[in-house]
Amino acid sequence: MFFPKAMTEIELIVPAKDLLPVTKVLSGHGIFHQSDSSYSYPGAESEKGASESWQNKAAAFAGLERRLQLTMQSLGIEEGDTPASDFETITDPSLVLPEIERIELEVKNMNDQVVTTQKNLEGLHAYLSQLESIQDVPADFSALRDSKYVYSVLGMIPAANVDRLATSLSRIPHVFLTLRSEPQKKVVWLAGAQANADVLERAVRSSYLNPLSLPVGYKGTPAEIIKSIKADIRQAEENIVQWRKALSSMAVKYGEDLRALYWQIHTSRIMSDAIVRYGRLKYTYVIVGWVLSDELEVLVQRLKQASHEILIETFPTGRSGHHRSVPVALRHSKWLRPFQMLVTTYARPRYGELDPTWIIAIMFPVLFGAMFGDVGQGLILAGLGALMASGKVKALKGMAGLGGLIAVCGLSATVFGFLYGSIFGFEDILHPVWMSPLHNIMQILTVAVGAGVVLLNLAFLIGIMNNAISRDWGHLIFSHNGVAGYLLYLSLLALLAANFLPAFPIPASVVTILAVGSALAVMLSEVLIHLVERHRPLLEGGLGTYFIQAPVELFEAVISMLSNTLSFVRVGAFAVAHGGLSSAIFILAGLAGGEGGIGYWIVVLIGNIFIIGFEGLIVGIQTMRLSYYEFFSKFFSGGGMRFEPLTLNPGDKE
């Protein structure tokens, strides 16, 4: 629950005869993350042929899959879901190839005709749009092109290049006209003296002005050519409609066959890709990977059913030490997924690292609710979140992942609304169960900072635990997020407390000694950590640089401890601001009409919508900031490798 799912490394020795059933078990359930063992067990020279054969098969399946996808795309056929029917073995590419080629050829011929004609059609439309800009000109442009004294170009240029072309010709006399403008391109006419033809030509070429060329076979004035082109366009469009009808018939005729072939090839491709990464011994294959420990027993049973001679070795992986190569699976319940998303947006935890999803699932809504406490607005937010999460509203479907998060935050805001006695901004309807922030400003700010101290203590302790689990003893003891840093933080807090509380039980001298000792440890942490880790050189960058750098880093550590703590004051400040904003809205409502009037209620309504939308967003961002910057940065380094199981069904993936 508090860590990524437990993983067990599994090593299998599989007789060659059981290769396919075992692969089927491994790839069929979405629980096995394969490691590439083909490097460690490349096989003897005599077995190279077999490995290459699998590589060739995998490549052949990948090629066939792509071809099938293209054919299905041409016919507008969806891949559909994984078929319910079971598959027995990897299919032989040479057996399905003739069938695929036959359908592909039939579809391709027809589709090519459509594509070619569409391309011609585009060309004709392009000619047409170019010519339309000069359709009133009763001249033949070839005459201008062949002029003895005038250099002239009629053509199309990227719109962005027009000014630059004009600039580049500023030193020679010329005429430059825009005949037609589109957002991306322009039809222009450029003319100048033949004597300057070389300059004009270079400018035309370097500005990507493409001279307009009339299609072969069309003659006459622009208006006459336009008429002929339009007739050809009509004919081409009619042809395309006919061919499209034929393609639709083919989609009906071959739809089921193509889908079946696609899934056959797809599963074969996945399985052969997996086999390519198996290690190879003389008569056996070596398969290495990771399996979710919860699923290990089931997998082992299935593997033993698939192969009686299989050798299975499992290595449960503890959390301690460094586990960079262990994949990380986060499989939380549906309710925790939005918070998991919040965590993975920051980073994916390493295997031995605490997965902070649970903590953030509690902390995030509480901080949000504390800043946005209002019964009515909270309930609306919760309802909106539930609607988003349900996916029933099409416009909100893209934000379904956020729905759960918003709903929980809304409920938390509702609870705090009761505690603060606030409903839709009205502070006099409900009696506050706890206190009204607007009337107890210092108290709410103090509580907010207090909550920050508790959370930062928690963050320090988790950081220390993470370092202990990964056995980073140096960092555990001396780093500014380790024991030394924690003691420094506690002693700073104690010094502050001693100043304000005369009856503080610990003597000031003890606290001072503790503060100085831990500060020294933090300041010298680089050297001390290197000493513990036996890392040489002890100092990187020279003694001089170090003695300038170390006090600055200590100063930065102390400042960040204080600023991180004070940062939580915003929780109280936003709770106060929420009340303040509501008061402002009631003042505006009062100005808009007497209390109880229509104007009054319209302003109250708009004000509440504004608060839910605008303040809700700001509070959400502030909560995220507190979680990421103040909390996570103390203990969460992330960098875990994602668990990507072999699966025939894309829906199995995280």
Partner: protein
């Protein structure tokens, strides 16, 4: 602040600050430069923010190319992460900035088609853009010719630009006009996105983007004149009329044959030895480019000072990250070729004492 002001930038600013602090520190960069060889460099890099990316590949498979690919993935992730969190109004600017790498990929694929390279070779040099790309490089390469590959881009923002450039490609059988057209369209697009912003966002975006435009425009102008010997009108058409520091008059003066050194000295008084560098452009121009990059780096670092609630912070971080990766490329190549300190350190953007 068109993008959302304090509220819009609070989260992204926090995240970018955290990411900025994970860029390589001076001491880390010194440690990397001090690594005796490539394996030691990789070991040192694994102790930095790049560690989680490099650790995903077995040590024996970590060639220079592979390591670079992994390192670039971090920048791609940074882009994705920053773009996701950025206010909607300024997001197109960051997306356009990211297109720089897509254009690099596009050029690589087109060069691969012209040279008949295999997919494996091209794949290795492509930038890892993940899903944030509008074309499939393999499909383009396998189309076999430039015209067919360009057809596959139909419907993307590149198609219009390329369809104009294709006429010249067909006539000249050179990728030069295509690459120039892509570059010009890219920088125009980036400038346009910056100009469209308002207030602090506009000011900061123009400062960072403008510095990049200045650097490219100036280097292009000098290169076209000194190496390509293009005519005045061609040079004007192959450069941009805008920038932060550089005005069109400066570019036009270079195009018209004015002495280059006084122009550069006037534009960048802090850059020394301009005359010496331009005396021998083959060796001097890369040095000038390096100094201009350092100037861009200073501008980016300045974006982190003062009011942080604008797009400049995100832009500057992403540019700094890119410059850091350029330094890592230098380091990796230097360590693989066992170059002495004085042979590679002067070419690093981040100045590391020899």
């Amino acid at each position: 602040m068109s993008g959302g002001g304090v509220s819009g930038y609070a989260a992204i600013h926090a995240k970018v600050r955290a990411m900025y602090s994970n860029l390589l520190s001076v001491s880390e960069m010194i440690a990397l430069a001090d690594s005796p060889d490539f394996p030691a460099l990789i070991a040192a890099l694994k102790r930095t923010g790049y560690g989680s990316y490099l650790n995903q590949v077995k040590d024996k498979d970590l060639t220079v190319q592979h390591a670079l690919f992994q390192i670039k993935r971090r920048l791609a992730d940074a882009f994705n992460s920053v773009i996701q969190m950025t206010p909607g109004a300024v997001r197109p600017l960051l997306v356009q900035l990211f297109r720089y790498y897509e254009i690099g990929n596009l050029k690589a694929v087109l060069r691969g088609i012209v040279t008949g390279a295999e997919w494996d070779r091209i794949e290795a040099v492509l930038y890892p853009l993940g899903e944030r790309t509008v074309f499939t490089p393999q499909g383009m390469l396998e189309s076999g010719n430039v015209a067919a590959a360009v057809e596959l881009l139909r419907g993307t923002s590149y198609y219009e630009t390329l369809s104009f450039a294709m006429r010249r490609y067909n006539a000249e059988q050179s990728l030069f006009p295509i690459e120039v057209a892509l570059d010009l369209a890219y920088w125009r697009g980036l400038w346009q996105e910056s100009v469209q912003l308002a207030g602090q966002d506009r000011e900061q975006a123009l400062r960072v983007v403008g510095s990049l435009v200045d650097m490219n425009n100036l280097i292009w102008a000098i290169r076209y004149r000194v190496f390509h010997h293009v005519s005045e009108e061609e040079l004007i058409n192959y450069t941009l009329p805008f920038g932060y520091h550089i005005r069109d008059e400066d570019i036009r003066a270079i195009a018209a044959g004015a002495e280059i050194a006084p122009i550069v000295r006037r534009l960048y008084p802090s850059i020394s030895d301009v005359d010496v560098m331009l005396e021998d452009p083959r060796s001097g121009l890369p040095l000038l480019e390096l100094k201009l990059k350092r100037h861009v780096m200073e501008r980016c670092m300045a974006a982190f000072v003062g009011n942080p609630f604008h797009v400049g912070v995100a832009l500057a971080y992403l540019v700094l990250h890119d410059l850091e990766i350029q330094d890592l490329v230098v380091l990796m190549e230097a360590k693989t070729s066992q170059l002495a300190d004085e042979q590679f350190r002067p070419y690093m953007i981040r100045e590391i004492p020899v």
